[in-house]
C-alpha cells in the first residue's frame, strides 16, 4: 500500500474542509426550501390537502399579499396593535429608541467592517497568489494577513454587539420584536446557522494561514476566503431582509398576517437595492477604516521601512474603498428609484419633504469625500519623480471641483416662514435657486466623478512616459474622451432647464454613461498604454506628506458619518410605523427627531465607534509581525492600480 505523503494528506484534509464549508453553506438553504417556494402556495392551502380534509374541518382562510397581490393562506397572527404601556414599550427613564439606535449602529459599523475586510483580504491574497514577483507576493500575503487579523478581534465585538442588540430589542420593544421574529423565524434560524458557519470558516481561514501558505493548499486557502465572503454576504442579505420588510412589507396581508411564503417576506421590493447599496457601502467603509489604520501606523512609524509599508497599505485600502465609492451614488439612485416606485410619498418625504435637509448634509459629505480623495491622490504624487509635470493642472481641477461642489450642495427649496418666503419672492432664490435644481446637480456630481477619474489617470502616469507606438493616438483619444464627456455632461445639464421634469430624468442616463466611459475606458486604456512605459523615477513609498495621511483619516471619518446619516434617513422614512402601514409605533418616541438631534446622535455613534476601533487597532498591533523588509525604501512596488 502506497504511503500517503504529508502534502497529499494535507490536500485531502483541505478538500474535506472545503466540502464541509460548502455543506454548511448550503445546509440552511436546504432547510428553508420547504418554506419558500416562490409563488407556490403553502401545503396547507393546496387543493389536495383541502380535498383530503374532513368535511367539518375549518376552511383555510386566505388573504391577499399587500405587495405581491397574490392569495395565500393565513398562517400568522395580525400585527399587534400596541399601546403606550409598559407591556409593549418597557422603559428605563431614557428614550428607548436612542438606546436601540446606539446598539444597532455600533453593530452595523462592526458588521460592515468584518464583512468588508475579508473581501479585501480575498482580493489582496489573490493578487499575492497570481503575482510572479516573489517579494511582492509575500508583501501582499502579509497585507492580507494583517487585514484578517484586525477583523478577527472586530468579529468578536460584532458578535457581542449582536447579542446586545437582541437583548435591547427584547427588553425595550418586546411586542414588536415578537411580531418580527414570528414572521422571520426560519430566516433567523438560517441566520444563526450561517453565523456559526462564518465563525468556523473565519477561524480556520486565519489559523491555517501558515499551514496553507504554499502551492495547491494556497489555492484552497484562497477558495476558503471566497466561501467566507459568500457566507458573509448571505448573512448581510438576510439581515437586510428584516429592515427591507419594515420599510416595504410583503408576504403579509393588510393586517400584517403572514401568508406562509417566506420568500415573499425576504424578497420585498427594496431588498435587492438595499443589498447592492449596502455591499458597496460596506466596502467603501471598510476601505476607509483600513486606510485610517494604515495612516495611524504610518504616523506612529519609527522607521522608513514601516512608513513605506503603511503608506502602501493606506494607498491600497483607499484605492479599493474609492473603487466602491464611485458606483455607490448609482446604487443609491437605484434604491431611491425603487422607493419612489414603491411609495411616491416615501420618496418625497426623503428627497423633498421632512428629511430633505439630511440629503443636503449627504451632498456636502459626498462632495467632501471626492475632494478629499482627489487631495490624497495629489499628495501621493509627492512620492514620484516626474509628477511635477502635472502639478500645474491641479489648480484647475481644484477650481472645477469646488464649483461643482457648491452647485451640488445648493438646496432646491427650503423650509421657510411666510415672511422669509415673501422676502425671497418665492420658494427658490432668484439667483441661487437656478443651481439647486436636479439638472444642475446631476451635471455637478458627474463632473466631480469624471474629474476624480482624471486625477487618478494623472496619478497613474505621474512618473511614467508611455512608450507604445500608438501613445500619441492613445493620448489624443483620452483627451477627446474626457473633452466629449465634459461637454456632454454640461450640455445636458443646461438642456435639462428647457424640458419638462419627466423628460429631464432621462438625461441622467447619458450623463452617467459619459462618466462611466471615462472611468472604464479611460483607466483601462491608460493602464494598457503604461505597460512597459519608461520610468521617470521610482515610487518612493513613505514619502507622502502627513497631510496626505490626514486625508485618509478624513475619508474614514466621513465614511463613518455618512453611513450613520444614511442609515438614519432610511430608518426615519418609516415615520411613525414599525412596519410601514402594517404596524404602527405607538411608543412615546414615534415622532421624528430634528436634524440637529440626528446629527448629534450620529456624531456620538461615529466617535464611539472610533474610540473602540482604536482599541481594536491597538490589540492588532500587539502581535504584528515585523514588516518584511523585502522592498527597500525607494524600490518600485506596484499596487493594483495598473501601474502602481
Amino acid at each position: 500500500m502506497a504511503t500517503i505523503t504529508k502534502q497529499a494528506r494535507n490536500k485531502i484534509w483541505a478538500f474535506l474542509a472545503l466540502g464541509t464549508f460548502v455543506g454548511l453553506l448550503l445546509l440552511p438553504l436546504f432547510l428553508s426550501l420547504p418554506a419558500g417556494a416562490g409563488d407556490t402556495p403553502a401545503p396547507a392551502a393546496s387543493t389536495a390537502s383541502a380535498a383530503a380534509a374532513p368535511a367539518d374541518a375549518k376552511p383555510v382562510e386566505k388573504s391577499r399579499d399587500v405587495w405581491y397581490k397574490t392569495e395565500g393562506p393565513v398562517v400568522g397572527a395580525p400585527a399587534p396593535k400596541t399601546t403606550d404601556s409598559a407591556k409593549d414599550y418597557p422603559r428605563y427613564n431614557f428614550e428607548s429608541r436612542v438606546i436601540l439606535w446606539v446598539a444597532l449602529q455600533q453593530h452595523l459599523y462592526y458588521g460592515s467592517f468584518v464583512l468588508a475586510v475579508p473581501i479585501f483580504c480575498m482580493i489582496v491574497e489573490y493578487l499575492g497568489v497570481i503575482t510572479k514577483d516573489k517579494a511582492l507576493s509575500r508583501k501582499y500575503d502579509q497585507l492580507a494577513y494583517d487585514f484578517v487579523k484586525i477583523s478577527l478581534t472586530a468579529y468578536s465585538i460584532t458578535a457581542l454587539l449582536g447579542g446586545i442588540v437582541i437583548f435591547t430589542f427584547l427588553t425595550l420593544y418586546p411586542t414588536f420584536f415578537g411580531y418580527l421574529s414570528s414572521i422571520f423565524r426560519p430566516v433567523m434560524a438560517t441566520y444563526a446557522l450561517l453565523f456559526i458557519a462564518e465563525s468556523g470558516t473565519l477561524y480556520i481561514y486565519y489559523y491555517a494561514w501558515d499551514k496553507m501558505r504554499e502551492g495547491f493548499l494556497k489555492w484552497i486557502h484562497v477558495a476558503m476566503s471566497v466561501i467566507l465572503n459568500v457566507i458573509g454576504t448571505v448573512l448581510m442579505m438576510l439581515a437586510n431582509s428584516w429592515i427591507a420588510f419594515m420599510q416595504s412589507p410583503a408576504g403579509v396581508d393588510a393586517d400584517g398576517r403572514y401568508l406562509g411564503n417566506v420568500w415573499h417576506v425576504i424578497h420585498t421590493t427594496l431588498w435587492n437595492p438595499i443589498n447592492v447599496h449596502r455591499l458597496l457601502g460596506n466596502m467603501a467603509f471598510g476601505g476607509g477604516v483600513v486606510a485610517a489604520y494604515a495612516a495611524y501606523r504610518f504616523l506612529t512609524a519609527k522607521s522608513d521601512e514601516e512608513r513605506s509599508h503603511y503608506d502602501w497599505m493606506g494607498y491600497v485600502a483607499m484605492f479599493i474603498g474609492i473603487c466602491f465609492l464611485i458606483p455607490l451614488p448609482f446604487a443609491g439612485y437605484w434604491l431611491m428609484r425603487e422607493v419612489y416606485a414603491y411609495r411616491q410619498q416615501m420618496g418625497i418625504t426623503l428627497m423633498g419633504g421632512l428629511l430633505a435637509w439630511l440629503f443636503i448634509i449627504q451632498a456636502v459629505m459626498i462632495g467632501a469625500l471626492f475632494l478629499t480623495a482627489n487631495y490624497y491622490l495629489w499628495q501621493g504624487m509627492d512620492r514620484m519623480r516626474g509628477a511635477e509635470r502635472y502639478q500645474k493642472y491641479i489648480k484647475y481641477m481644484v477650481f472645477v471641483l469646488i464649483m461643482c461642489f457648491i452647485v451640488w450642495l445648493t438646496p432646491h427649496t427650503m423650509v421657510m416662514t411666510p415672511a422669509e418666503l415673501k422676502a425671497m419672492g418665492g420658494q427658490q432664490h432668484p439667483v441661487l435657486g437656478n443651481y439647486g435644481v436636479m439638472s444642475a446637480k446631476n451635471g455637478a456630481i458627474n463632473t466631480i466623478i469624471t474629474t476624480t477619474v482624471l486625477s487618478f489617470i494623472i496619478y497613474q502616469r505621474a512618473n511614467k512616459i508611455p512608450t507604445v507606438k500608438w501613445a500619441p493616438y492613445g493620448n489624443a483619444f483620452l483627451f477627446g474622451l474626457f473633452t466629449m464627456a465634459y461637454v456632454n455632461i454640461i450640455w445636458l445639464a443646461i438642456y435639462g432647464y428647457y424640458i419638462p421634469a419627466n423628460v429631464r430624468v432621462g438625461l441622467s442616463v447619458p450623463q452617467v454613461a459619459s462618466t462611466l466611459s471615462c472611468l472604464f475606458i479611460g483607466v483601462i486604456l491608460n493602464s494598457i498604454m503604461l505597460k512597459g512605459a519608461k520610468d521617470v523615477g521610482p515610487i518612493v513609498w513613505g514619502q507622502i506628506s502627513v497631510r496626505g495621511q490626514y486625508a485618509l483619516i478624513m475619508l474614514a471619518t466621513s465614511f463613518t458619518w455618512m453611513m450613520g446619516l444614511m442609515g438614519y434617513i432610511r430608518s426615519s422614512v418609516r415615520l411613525f410605523w414599525h412596519v410601514n402601514e402594517i404596524m404602527r409605533d405607538n411608543s412615546p418616541w414615534a415622532f421624528t427627531h430634528t436634524i440637529g438631534f440626528g446629527a448629534n446622535m450620529i456624531s456620538f455613534n461615529v466617535l464611539f465607534f472610533w474610540l473602540t476601533i482604536l482599541f481594536v487597532f491597538w490589540l492588532g498591533s500587539l502581535g504584528v509581525k515585523k514588516v518584511p523588509a523585502t522592498a527597500p525604501v525607494g524600490q518600485k512596488v506596484p499596487a493594483p492600480a495598473g501601474s502602481h
Partner: protein, 313 residues
Amino acid sequence: MFTGKVLGGVTAAIIFGAIGTIFYFLPESGAAQLMRKAFHLGWPGGLVIVILMLYFQFGRKNDPRQGELVFKSVIGLLGYSMLFIAIANYAMNFNDESPGVPGEPRFLPVSLVMFTVACFTMAMYFKGVRVLLQIGGFMFFVAACLAGFGNWLPQVKADPPPAEEKTADVRQMSVQERADLGEKIIFGAVGASGTQGAIGKGQCPLCHGFQKGFLSERAPNLFGIPTRALERLKDPRYSQADPSKRDTVQKEACPGCGTAQTAAEYIAESHACPNCYVVAGFGVKGSNDRESPMPASHKPPIALTELRRTHRR
C-alpha cells in the same frame, strides 16, 4: 520669541482667569452652572492631577525635569477641565426633544469643539501620545463640523398623527368648522395653510401646491380648484357623459358610480379615484397619463377614515 511653554502658560492663565471671572461676577449664569456640573462629575480625576502637580513641585526638587512636569500637569488639568465641561454640556443639554424637558441639544456640537481643542492642546505637550491625540482631535473636528452644520439647518420635529382621532359628525358642523377641519387634515393645524412645509394626515402638500405661485411639479397646483374643476369636467378626456370611454386604468370610483357633475363631486372623485382622470403631464411615467401616481385617499399609505373623507366631499 515665545516658547511653547510660555504660550501654553499664558493660555492656561487666561482660561483659568476667565473661569474665575465667570464664577465671581456671574455665579448663576449658564456657563457657571456648566462648570459646576463639570466639577461635580470630574473632581476625583482633577484632584489626582492637582496632587501630582504638587508632588512634582515639592517632592522632586532635584529633578531637572521638575519644571516641565509641573507645566505638563497644568496643561493636563486644563485639558481635563475642558473634557469634563464638554461632558457636562452633554449631561445638561441632551434630551429626547419631548416638550418641556430641559436642555438644548443644539448646543451639543460645542462639546465636540471642546474635545477638539483639548486634544490638540494636549497633543502639543504630550509627545508619547501626540499622534493619537491629533488623530482624535481631527476626528472630533470633522464630527463637530458636521454636527454643527446639522444643528445650524432649520429644525423640524414631526409628531405622529393621533392614532384615533374622534371628530364630531361633519354634517352637524358649520361651514367654518368644516373648513378648519379640512385645513387640519391637509396642513396639520388650523392656520397652517400659509406655511410652506406644513403637512397633515392627508399628506396633500407633499405633491400639490396650494398657494398661488407655489412650486408644484409633481402634481397640479390646487389654487383655484373650485373654478378649474368645472373646466376639467368639460375636458373630452374626462368623458363626463360616458365613463367607460375614458382612456384610464380605472373608469369609475366604484361600479356604477358614474362621473362627477359638480366641482365638489369632481374633487371627491379625485380623492377616491385618482386614476379616473389624470391631468395631462401628471401621470405615472410611461403610462401616457392613463394612471395617476396619487394613492386613493382612503387606502394606505394615506388611509383617511370615512369621516374625514366625508368631510372632504
